[in-house]
């Protein structure tokens, strides 16, 4: 269950939307919905329903995967920074050594925070991978991982 932020006045600092981990074969491994983003507060999603916004986020992120695939060969760092844009939604990406993609859907330009967040999640992700009982393509269901990712998000995106 994701945190439900109260409707904020337009123009207020709204947080991020969604974070997703997708494996090399485009299989989603983890998804984390952080809360309302601006277009929901502004009633962009028809009826302001949470579900529609969530669908939109997912769609935008999966569409961005193509750009991630292109971009990852242009640089030798893991953090790909901004890869795609949809209206006022920004997609940031990070590619791990094993080919898993971290995607962050956000509506603010704050590369520093995004970089730190990706770094934190990467460390958590590595600990999950080191578990011999974890299959590389399996969904990540560990509650501690989920809790720590949310914690990290709160810390970097206040």
């Amino acid at each position: 269950p994701s945190a439900r932020r109260p409707r904020l006045a337009h123009g207020a600092m709204v947080g991020l939307a969604t974070f997703m981990i997708v494996s090399k074969e485009d299989v989603p491994q983890y998804e984390c919905d952080f809360g309302a983003s601006r277009e929901q507060a502004a009633g962009y999603a028809p009826g302001g329903k949470k579900d529609d916004a969530a669908h939109l986020h997912q769609f935008v992120m999966h569409a961005a995967l193509d750009f991630v695939d292109e971009r990852q060969w242009e640089t030798n760092t893991m953090n790909l920074k901004l890869v795609d844009r949809f209206n006022d939604l920004l997609v940031y990406a990070f590619v791990t050594a094993g080919g898993s993609r971290f995607l962050l859907l956000h509506d603010q330009r704050n590369e520093e925070n995004v970089r730190n967040f990706f770094h934190d999640v990467h460390e958590l992700y590595l600990k999950i991978l080191l578990n011999p009982f974890h299959s590389p393509r399996a969904p990540i269901v560990d509650e501690t991982f989920d809790a720590r990712v949310r914690e990290s998000a709160k810390r970097h995106f206040p």
């Binding site: 600990k127 080191l130 578990n131 011999p132 009982f133 974890h134 560990d142």
Partner: protein
């Protein structure tokens, strides 16, 4: 006279690090320092892959998997004892207590850098608990899935570190001491705050087999 004193101190030091001497911890420490090292994470990942493969081969039957891990440990222990005796200047153990101390305080330290203590001895001195400060070479980063740790029956829970128990058992059997060895407290499948405690219990002395009929 200074030289004599220094020589005596050196022999005393050498003797105290000798296995079977009065200080098994020191002997263990000295033995550890002298062995070749391998990357701990490599060991952890290899061991994890081993357990995973055994479970796969046994088609998730935990009881069989535990038995298989124990057998593998036993085979390893029989070989390790030769290595141990060759590398350390070990004296013959005169009691089960000495044997247990040698295995736990010297052997485990020398091969795996495991710190442990022997406690909860019974009156006969035939049974003790080996409490490990940590079992990181085996269990670092490991989370056992629920399907291997559910069930009230102890036998249906995965004994992740059973290879270690098997090794202790195999090593002792090769030098004539039959034992029973298993974990009574396993933080991976039980209460994490209780840590890892292995029970080592003496069963009988192995009778020397005569190679021919009389």
């Amino acid at each position: 006279r200074e030289r004599a004193r220094a020589a005596r101190a050196a022999t005393m030091a050498a003797r105290s690090t000798r296995v079977g001497g009065r200080n098994p911890e020191l002997a263990g420490q000295a033995a550890w320092v002298a062995t070749e090292k391998v990357n701990a994470e490599l060991f952890t990942l290899t061991y994890g892959a081993l357990v995973r493969q055994v479970l796969h081969d046994c088609e998730d039957r935990v009881f069989e998997a535990n038995k298989k891990l124990d057998e593998m440990g036993h085979a390893m222990g029989c070989r390790l004892i030769e290595d141990f005796l060759a590398k350390t200047n070990a004296r013959k153990c005169l009691s089960f207590k000495e044997s247990a101390e040698t295995v736990a305080l010297v052997g485990f330290k020398m091969f795996l850098n495991l710190e442990c203590s022997l406690e909860n001895w019974n009156d006969d001195e035939t049974r003790c608990d080996v409490r490990f400060e940590h079992l990181d070479p085996f269990v670092a980063f490991v989370e056992v899935p629920d399907r291997y740790k559910s069930g009230d029956d102890e036998q249906s829970k995965l004994k992740y570190c059973q290879v270690l128990c098997g090794a202790a058992r195999g090593a002792l059997e090769s030098v004539g001491v039959r034992t029973e060895c298993h974990f009574v407290k396993d933080a991976l499948v039980g209460d994490p705050s209780e840590g890892f405690v292995m029970r080592l219990e003496f069963t009988e002395n192995v009778e020397d087999e005569y190679p021919f009929e009389d």
